[in-house]
């Protein structure tokens, strides 16, 4: 912008400011602003130790000047549940998000808790082989309650919310919001990558399938000069909805595709990538910038969707292995809104350039599936951190006295999940994790500490640059613990006679119809959830409502008495009946029992999705090695403030929501139960 243009803009702005009366009622320069950093998974014990060791100087200074305490989390302590509680100021019975995974009570199928299937079936007109949508099929956000930012914005407080979990699909709002965790990739999945390789992927010992699209390719000799030099592949995008009947199940072949070509140099240490109209040149071990790919829903681009992808050259010599990130929405033109207002993502992109829009941008699936080693993974985490740093700087620059800004950081949560196995940051004398890898442990055992240090530097930067008098809060939704043993809840239910398989089978899955519902009293779908097979609620219920309480009590007693044959340790620390702990608005949708595992234990992924296996307890050999899906008492979060925290207070997530509202003298909505900290 030229000096003339800057002056013109400023002059126009000044004139407008003089002529337009202020619409603010609660915020504005007269009220100190409030800036909140939401750090997923920050643990009070690790934080305290590192502050004591002088590794978190900014947070230590903050704790001294203001305060630092544990912050009670919710039950179950899962991120979407916890952040929904913070957003709405309600417990799960109020907002209706009880787990990452819910179930359809009629079919027993696992469904997404954030985006359950539409209750209004999609209808389309069929012309030739094309289906033109007419009505229905819209997927909406399942979270109930009123987000605190709507109350603030309505009261005239300028509110900006960056990367908030559980806010996709994005509900309407007058506040500026950017959705975070839970935002899908272009396929509608949560991190579906593409792996171009010249080798077949060996199956995992546990039979788990890779979480991406594996394309076994050949390196062709395009010009027949004896040197293999080119690879062709495709990137799957959104489902080809114009060519799928509206009631059909989407299969692997039902996605739109875009072509990608890789050209290798003679030494095979560099590739030239052509995807869409964009090109990139990367060496082995490097990431490309974002490259735009387009998908035509209808011929000629009449309906087209833009996505963006970045590539990682894992191996170019002697083999060929190139990773393509999940195809993200393009923030300047997202195929689905990811912000309110819709065009705010484009405004952000104007300043920041492209940024990760996928809800969990760290490539955890590539690491879990063994395609990435820790070096590859950490390299990609640095890209995500770069995005977060830039976005936080922008949020800070936009923050004015009287404003409310929230920004979410994923650094600690996902890295604790993925890297805990290299060295327990919480228990110095802990034995090696079952997934400990001798080769990389030495190099990566301090990575989690580095994430804390990164958050410390970001927090320090915020505190140092906030307008004078502003309030700063740093909070986390839960803490962390090691995750060494997998408990297979459905297998336990089978062994204890609560779940029966058809035809005397011993193993099977709920989704594939292996369960004999006429003999099954309880089943597990979700990480901490047990549902009774209740008459009148489930499709083929057998437990009479009058008997429900005694069945729940019996299951609870047995679970609490269950010990690990390896060392006699109790597996479960608490089993809560949802009717005893949740408010009533949406309690009917809740699991009947919430299982609170003890430190080190967690429900297996397989059981979470309805699998019944052979053993009740197995070592967790997955790289997903830290966890928090346990008894909430063992995974509290943290709260820091630059204002003194009342001594001896015991606060929870809902109290932070109440504090945010009270800061601006805004009344809480019905159902919000927290008490302000100040």
């Amino acid at each position: 912008m030229s000096r003339f243009e800057v002056v013109a803009v400023l002059a126009t702005g000044a004139l407008l400011a003089l002529t337009v009366p202020s619409c603010k009622t609660k915020g504005g320069p007269d009220v100190p602003g409030l800036f909140v950093l939401g750090v997923d998974g920050m643990d009070p014990v690790i934080t305290q130790r590192m502050m004591d060791e002088g590794k978190l100087p900014n947070l230590a200074k903050l704790a001294k000047a203001g305060g630092f305490q544990k912050l009670a989390t919710v039950n179950p302590p899962q991120s979407p549940v916890a952040w929904s509680s913070f957003v709405t100021g309600m417990d799960p019975g109020g907002h209706g998000i009880f787990d990452f995974v819910h179930r359809d009570p009629k079919t027993y199928q696992p469904i997404s808790s954030a985006t359950p299937p539409s209750t209004d079936p999609a209808k389309a007109i069929e012309i030739g082989d094309t289906y033109f949508p007419v009505s229905g099929g819209a997927v909406t956000n399942n979270r109930g309650g009123i987000p605190f930012w709507d109350l603030l914005q309505k009261a005239g407080v300028d509110t900006e919310i960056y990367r908030i979990p559980g806010n996709y699909p994005v509900p309407d709002s007058d506040a500026k919001t950017l959705s975070g965790m839970g935002t899908s990739d272009m396929r509608g999945g949560y991190g579906v990558y593409t792996w171009f390789t010249d080798k077949e992927i060996p199956p995992k010992p546990n039979g788990e399938k890779p979480k991406g699209d594996i394309q076994v390719v050949t390196v062709d000799d395009y010009d027949l000069d004896g040197t293999p030099d080119s690879v062709h592949g495709t990137l799957k995008g959104p489902p080809d909805l114009f060519h799928i009947p509206p009631d059909a199940t989407i299969t692997d072949n039902d996605y739109l595709t875009a072509g990608v070509t890789f050209w290798l140099d003679k030494q095979r240490d560099t590739i030239y990538i052509q995807a869409g109209s964009d090109t990139a040149l990367i060496r082995q071990g490097e990431w490309s910038d974002w490259m735009k790919v387009s998908y035509d829903g209808l011929p000629g681009g009449v309906v087209a969707y833009d996505g963006m992808v970045r590539f990682y050259a894992k191996e170019l010599n002697p083999g060929f292995a190139v990773y393509a990130s999940p195809v993200n929405f393009v923030p300047s033109n997202p195929a689905q809104p990811i912000t309110t207002p819709d065009d705010w993502s484009a405004d952000l992109a104007d300043i920041l350039g492209n940024f990760y829009t996928q809800g969990m941008p760290e490539e955890t699936n590539a690491l879990k599936d063994g395609l990435f080693d820790d070096d590859d993974y950490i390299k990609q985490v640095a890209l995500v951190q770069e995005d977060a740093r830039d976005m936080l700087a922008l949020a800070l620059a936009r923050f004015q006295p009287g404003d409310m800004t929230f920004m979410y950081l994923s650094d600690i949560d996902l890295q604790c999940h993925m890297l805990w196995r290299h060295g327990d940051p919480k228990y110095a004398d802990a034995p090696h994790h079952p997934a400990w890898e001798a080769g990389s442990a030495a190099k990566h055992k301090l990575d989690i500490e580095r994430m804390y240090e990164h958050v410390d530097s970001l927090a320090g930067n915020v505190v140092d640059n906030l307008p004078a008098g502003s309030t700063f809060l740093l909070m986390s939704d839960h803490g962390f613990q090691p995750y060494t043993r997998d408990f297979h809840l459905n297998t336990w239910l089978r062994d204890n006679g609560y779940l029966v398989l058809k035809d005397d089978k011993q193993t099977g899955t709920i989704p594939t119809g292996d369960v004999d519902w006429s003999k099954t009293k309880a089943y597990n779908i979700g990480f901490n959830a047990i549902y009774l097979n209740e008459v009148g609620r489930e499709g083929q219920g057998i437990v009479a409502p009058a008997d429900a309480d005694s069945v729940m009590t019996a299951i609870s007693s047995r679970l609490l008495a269950t010990t690990d044959p390896k060392d006699g340790h109790f597996v479960v620390r608490r089993v809560a009946k949802s009717k005893d702990i949740y408010s009533k608005q949406r309690e009917a949708e809740a699991p009947d029992l919430i299982v609170g595992f003890d430190i080190g234990y967690g429900n297996s992924d397989q059981s979470t999705l309805g699998e019944i296996g052979t053993e009740e307890l197995t070592d967790n050999t997955s790289r997903w090695s830290g966890n928090h899906l346990m008894d909430p008492d063992v995974v509290p979060g943290v709260i820091f403030s630059n204002q003194p925290l009342p001594v001896g207070g015991h606060y929870g997530l809902l109290d932070v929501t109440a504090t945010v509202l009270k800061h601006f003298q805004v009344d809480p909505a019905t159902g919000m139960t927290g008490k302000s900290i100040y």
Binding site: R3, E5, D223, S230, D265, T270, I271, Y272, T279, L281
Partner: protein, 272 residues
């Protein structure tokens, strides 16, 4: 081609950006408006004004006929055919003026694009230099070499594709205008690269095809060059109050010049 581009460059490098490149608004307002007015006057001069007026009247008459006699199927069909004939006459009367006006309009437009559509490469970026061999060139892309001046390094590459491309990734140490040399066999060609600094005329592409006229930032390649194109992709310049990039300037130029033309057709007595 080359002398023509050099001539246009000489002229427009003087008349464009009289206040420097930071202030784009002057050229983006004046030139489309001027182009609209000049086009209007040229149109008036070279077009058959009476023929255009007659064709427009004819179209109106036959459209009215269709409305008035809509119950008479045969009459409507005949009127429709006559309206289409008049429409064809109207279009025919416009072809000549269009042919006359297109070259100068294009010249102005591509010069404005070169001056205002792109930003210099950010110094921290790692741009690609993409060289495409001419069809029928005796040398292959694998034979192409690149020499870079001090301050510029080859960050990666080359990757030579069998489709006739050679690609390098470059890295600049500081803002500046660099000139690299691309060689194959006995032929040696230069390509300018603009890194950082103030907005300026951007050298996007050199080519030996007719498209050279679209890239006046540099001379065209010789028609017998072994290279068809030597190019670097530049980011769009953000113009704040005007649409960005090539297509933005294109749309703005046509829209604003048309608006200026329509606004002044009455005072200038031009039948459009």
């Amino acid at each position: 081609m080359k002398p023509l581009i050099s001539l246009l460059n000489t002229v427009f490098d003087v008349v464009l950006a009289p206040f420097g490149h930071r202030f784009a608004a002057f050229d983006l307002l004046v030139w489309p408006a001027l182009a609209g007015v000049v086009a209007l006057l040229v149109y008036k001069k070279v077009s058959n004004q009476k023929g255009i007026a007659a064709a427009k009247n004819g179209i109106q008459v036959h459209l009215l006929e269709i409305v008035l006699y809509r119950d008479d199927l045969l009459g409507v069909l005949v009127a429709t055919a006559q309206a289409m004939k008049q429409n064809a006459l109207y279009l025919g009367n416009n072809i000549g003026p269009m042919v006359v006006m297109m070259p100068p309009m294009t010249a102005v437009l591509v010069e404005i694009v070169a001056h205002y559509a792109y930003s210099p490469l950010p110094v921290e970026s790692r741009p690609l230099l993409e060289v495409t061999m001419a069809e029928g060139a005796s040398m292959k892309s694998t034979d192409v070499t690149l020499e870079v001046p001090p301050g510029l390094t080859i960050d990666a590459g080359p990757v030579a594709t069998p489709e006739g491309m050679a690609v390098w990734r470059l890295k600049a140490e500081a803002p500046g205008d660099y000139v690299v040399t691309v060689k194959v066999g006995a032929e040696s060609q230069q390509k300018a690269l603009a890194f950082g600094g103030e907005p300026r005329k951007i050298p996007v592409e050199r080519t030996n095809t007719w498209e050279a006229i679209l890239y006046p930032g540099e001379d065209a390649l010789p028609s017998d060059s072994a290279f068809e194109t030597i190019r670097t992709r530049y980011p769009d310049r953000e113009l704040t109050f005007f649409p960005d990039g090539e297509s933005g300037i294109l749309g703005w130029f046509f829209g604003f010049s048309l608006a200026a033309g329509f606004a002044l057709k009455g005072p200038l007595g031009v039948e459009l």
